[in-house]
């Protein structure tokens, strides 16, 4: 590492350097700018790394800076002196301060020369006597880790790593102060690359060298460099200390480069036709629901360090099960296709019996849950109510005075959990002027019409009452966002930490999961969770186990029981629910059917489901990308599908 004193001595100053080439194409000539007005300073003892992809201009920049090519504009001062416009003879002394190591070691050593002659050649040009040359060559050979008996060999008798050691010895022969390393390890095997990187670091320290290092490989650059310059299209787009650039990259290209090298799995490559107002609809939603972090701000929900691995007992015949709805009888496999399924996982008695992935999904891909997220919030409340941290019969204004003049001023927390808050709110997903559309604008899920981008906090304050609370069921997504805000405010913890610590880690979730946040970092409780299908199924299983897993009571038994019991059916008046199963109800952010099986489920628009059938100990998690938000036919098909699967004897 550098200390302040060394940093002060300027070794090389590149000022406003540009290099253009004439390109002949189809009988015409145009100018191609390889390096575009680049300025860089190189201080004594430092390693400055220039990283960029092929064609970014990094090698051209280095060649111009080191006087191998002439720049079109600008100049380089080496130890305060310029090379530009002077003859080779006049600048020989100055050039002896420069050393070069290139990518292909066998190509940079004359194949007819012995190792001894290759290293000695630069010295002979400076007319030293043979004896002192031999002493110097032996010394360098030893320093780069080669044995004396290799002096008589030629390059074809050496391995790639040995050749590069010879090239390094040759570069150091004239005792240079500044060395250019242009992709010094790119043609070497991994195990040899590490040797050469270690050697370069050792030599820099011992000989007080200054390196300008060029590479396409961010890992190699960041390993050796004190500062990093990122180059793209002939320009430096980012420059800073290695830690600054790696830890807080500013330019999108740098971020992408770091993501690729950090080995993170999901690609953030956004489809060309992506549109923030259309991503929830098909066909864009197939990609978008699996890649929320690529275009929305999210917070990570940490998974468990001791994951629970579900045992598998796959039944291949389930694909062929016949599902009856209306007058048709169809295969499960065909229905899954019709319902734009991205994934489905079915557990019977806690074992995976059916599991399918489509559209690029896999066991490890997270997928947006939409409003199934609400059911996870319901469980969080079960937990904090039991702890006594929140009293659900109090109004929002008791905990969040900020909301006192909104609809939530007079509504209780339990009323919001059961969706019986009476609010002037239209949950119409297709109307761009509905309150729902404005909620999407507030959280950044849709581009804002001017003046509307206000964040969740300000948006919730604008909602007004529409009648008496606690009387009628009214499904309103904003309720859940208010609940998510409140639980964070009261517990003093972030939403992602609450999910992770209270549910995800105790139950042994293993996949990656995120929660979407608004511009102020407030969580989108109404539908912003993405997780893997298996982890969602695991959460469903926890309810069937009455909150208890392996002897540990993760969710309160009473809360689970209360949820299964449902609320009084008369508060339900949502038409589409009534059409589906008359007498069904809604409790604690879960839907409860009125069938003998007493299934409960979470549901989200575009076909997201977590379906629990306690009568057969079955969990079905199904994530989809149906092109439109709500469709009664699709809803009926889903219920028919889940009942056919859940009620089959295995």
């Amino acid at each position: 590492m550098l200390d302040g004193e060394l940093m002060n001595e300027l070794m090389m100053q590149i000022s406003n350097l540009s290099k253009t080439f004439d390109v002949h194409h189809g009988g015409r000539t145009h100018e191609f700018t390889a390096v575009d007005n680049v300025s860089l300073s190189l201080y004594k003892g430092e390693v400055l790394g220039v990283v960029g992809e092929s064609g970014s201009g990094k090698s051209t920049l280095a060649r111009c800076a080191f006087g191998i090519s002439q720049p079109t504009l600008g100049e380089t001062l080496i130890l305060g002196k310029s090379l530009v416009g002077k003859s080779v003879r006049a600048t020989r002394e100055l050039r002896s301060n420069l050393g070069f190591v290139f990518q292909d070691p066998s190509g940079s050593i004359n194949p007819r020369m012995t190792v001894r002659d290759a290293i000695a050649e630069p010295l002979q040009l400076r007319s030293q006597d043979r004896k002192s040359i031999d002493v110097r060559v032996s010394f360098l050979l030893d320093r780069v880790g080669l044995a004396e008996n290799q002096l008589r060999r030629k390059s074809h008798e050496l391995s790639g790593g040995q050749c590069q050691r010879v090239a390094i010895a040759r570069a150091l022969s004239t005792n240079p102060k500044i060395v250019l390393l242009d992709e010094p390890t790119s043609s070497l095997d991994l195990s040899v690359q590490a040797q050469i990187l270690n050697l370069l670091e050792e030599l820099r320290r011992d000989f007080e060298l200054t390196y300008l290092m060029i590479s396409h490989n961010l890992d190699v650059i960041s390993h050796l460099s004190d500062r990093v310059a990122v180059m793209k299209d002939g320009r430096i787009i980012e420059l800073g200390t290695t830690r600054e650039v790696i830890d807080s990259p500013q330019h999108p290209f740098t971020r992408e480069l770091i993501r690729v090298y950090s080995g993170s799995e999901t690609s953030h490559e956004i489809p060309a036709d992506f549109n923030l107002d259309k991503w929830q609809d098909g066909p864009l939603n197939t990609w978008a629901f699996q890649h929320i972090p690529a275009f929305l701000p999210v917070r990570k929900i940490s998974s468990s360090s001791r994951p629970l691995i579900l045992s598998e007992n796959l039944d291949p015949t389930l694909d062929e099960v016949k599902v009856g709805w209306d007058v048709n009888l169809r295969n499960v496999g065909d229905i899954l296709k019709d319902l734009h399924t991205d994934s489905i996982v079915m557990l019977r008695s806690g074992e995976v019996v059916f599991e399918k992935y489509f559209n690029g999904m896999s066991k490890t891909s997270p997928h947006l849950l939409q409003s199934v997220s609400k059911s996870i919030l319901g469980a969080l409340y079960g937990k904090v109510v039991e702890n006594g941290e929140i009293n659900p019969s109090l109004t929002f204004s008791h905990y969040l005075p900020e909301l006192v003049s909104s609809v939530y001023g007079g509504a209780t927390i339990q009323q919001a959990l059961d969706m019986t808050v009476s609010v002037a709110f239209s949950e119409d997903y297709s109307d761009p002027n509905s309150e729902m559309a404005r909620l999407d604008e507030a959280i950044g899920w849709r581009t804002s019409v001017s003046g509307r981008e206000i964040g969740l906090r300000n948006y919730l304050k604008t909602l007004t009452p529409n009648g008496e609370h606690g009387k009628f069921f009214q499904y309103c997504s904003a309720n859940t966002d208010a609940l998510a805000w409140l639980i964070c405010e009261v517990t003093g913890r972030t939403y992602q930490d609450l999910i992770s610590e209270l549910i995800w880690q105790p139950m042994g979730a293993s996949g990656s999961a995120t929660i979407s946040v608004d511009r102020e970092g407030l969580s989108v409780g109404n539908g912003g969770i993405s997780c893997t299908t298996r982890d969602l199924a695991l959460f469903g299983q926890l309810l069937l186990l009455m909150g208890e897993q392996n002897g540990q009571q993760i969710l309160p038994r009473n809360w689970v029981k209360q949820t299964f019991d449902g609320s009084s059916p008369e508060v339900i008046s949502a038409d589409y629910l009534q059409a589906l199963h008359p007498g069904g109800s809604y409790k604690n952010q879960w839907w409860i059917t009125n069938s003998a099986a007493r299934e409960i489920y979470g549901v989200g628009i575009y076909g997201q489901y977590l379906w629990l059938d306690p009568s057969t100990d079955t969990v079905i998690a199904k994530l989809s990308s149906i092109p439109i938000p709500v469709d009664p036919t699709h809803s009926r098909m889903h219920v028919a599908l889940f009942r056919a699967l859940a009620r089959i004897n295995l």
Binding site: E53, S54, S159, G160, G161, Q162, D189, L190, S191, V192, Q193, A194, Q195, L197, N198, E201, H216, N217, L218, D219, V220, S222, H223, L224, T242, I246, E256, L257, I258, V260, Y261, S262, G263, E265, S267, E269, A272, Y357, G360, M361, S362
Partner: protein, 316 residues
């Protein structure tokens, strides 16, 4: 799941004049099931590409392969039957897309040739090619089909090559360093594309690379090859997280990383041995810091957890 490819004790001798040169492969054993990816990791000259060429039946005339290569339900593969399998049931993508295409024909004419070979009706070919190209993320299909290789970028050409390899809906795809010649960000896109295609089409894949990080991104299983022998094999996550063979440990330790703290890298001393040298016992012993006199004997293959490791110094 059913085994698509099973390679047992594969070795390839070479006849140079009257002389038979030792096989650079010293008994390779591999197994790939449908829908799965086996990643082969190894350094220069360890025999990665020779293994692939032997499976494809593309060895030079001087080669004398030994051992068994079994494919899907066809049993043991013979050179005589390869004509009907190569390019249809087994397809391959190569490192350098620029040289894999013929520079004097358009992409379209080269792809149509493959489609005709695969008995597509003339009327279907156009729509099939459009579909294949859009499945690899290329939208401007008309322009691409009319282009010559030099008119497309490396990433686009590699996508075309993948689309071409998919024309026959192969059971096995062999990918030999498919991202090595590409820029890191483009290479990453190609890896994601290959994985998505595999999820959709369900082919088995043999993915060969010297780049451990690339292999870890796509492979379900990893076989580490050193000097012509599989020295470690197991589920990708297990091999990456808890490598057992001293060579695998060294290889993973030698990778510099932007996310790791700086400092001296753990380098494996020496370099990969020449395949022409006679090796007795463990070929890694000369570079191994655990080696003892026992290592002069043929090492046993032991099972550690889900991994199998060919080494004297590993406790099973």
């Amino acid at each position: 799941m059913n085994v698509v490819l099973k390679v047992s004790d594969l070795a390839v001798d070479f006849c140079i004049g009257e002389k038979i040169v030792n096989s650079p492969l010293r008994g390779i054993n591999l197994e790939i099931r449908s829908g799965e990816t086996l990643g082969i990791v190894g350094e220069t000259g360890c025999g990665k590409t020779l293994t692939a060429t032997a499976i494809m039946g593309l060895l030079p005339a001087s080669a004398r392969p030994r051992g068994r290569i079994e494919f899907a339900d066809r049993g043991s593969l013979e050179p005589s039957s390869m004509g009907s399998i190569r390019g249809s049931e087994i397809t391959m993508i190569f490192q350098n897309p620029q040289s894999a295409f013929n520079p004097i024909f358009t992409i379209g004419s080269q792809m149509r040739l493959v489609a005709q070979k695969r008995n597509y009706a003339k009327s279907e070919i156009g729509s099939m090619l459009n579909e294949r190209l859009s499945s690899v993320g290329l939208t401007d299909t008309k322009r691409i089909l009319a282009s010559y290789p030099h008119q497309l970028s490396g990433g686009m050409l590699q996508r075309c090559m993948i689309a071409m390899a998919m024309i026959s809906s192969p059971k096995l795809l062999i990918a030999d360093e498919p991202t090595t010649a590409l820029d890191a960000t483009i290479g990453d896109q190609v890896l994601n594309l290959i994985r998505d295609l595999q999820d959709r089409e369900g082919f088995a894949m043999l993915f060969i690379s010297h780049d451990v990080t690339a292999v870890a991104k796509v492979a379900d299983y990893i076989s580490v090859i050193y000097a012509g022998r599989v020295v470690e094999n197991g589920p990708a996550s297990a091999v990456m997280k808890s490598p057992q063979h001293p060579y695998t440990k060294g290889l993973l330790g030698a990778i510099p990383s932007a996310s790791k703290p700086r400092g001296t890298l753990i380098a494996i001393p020496g370099s990969v041995p020449s395949v022409l040298n006679d090796v007795v016992g463990c070929s890694f012993a000369p570079r191994c810091n655990l080696a003892t006199s026992t290592c002069a004997e043929e090492p046993p293959t032991l099972t550690v957890g889900q991994q199998s490791v060919t080494c004297w110094m590993v406790n099973s």
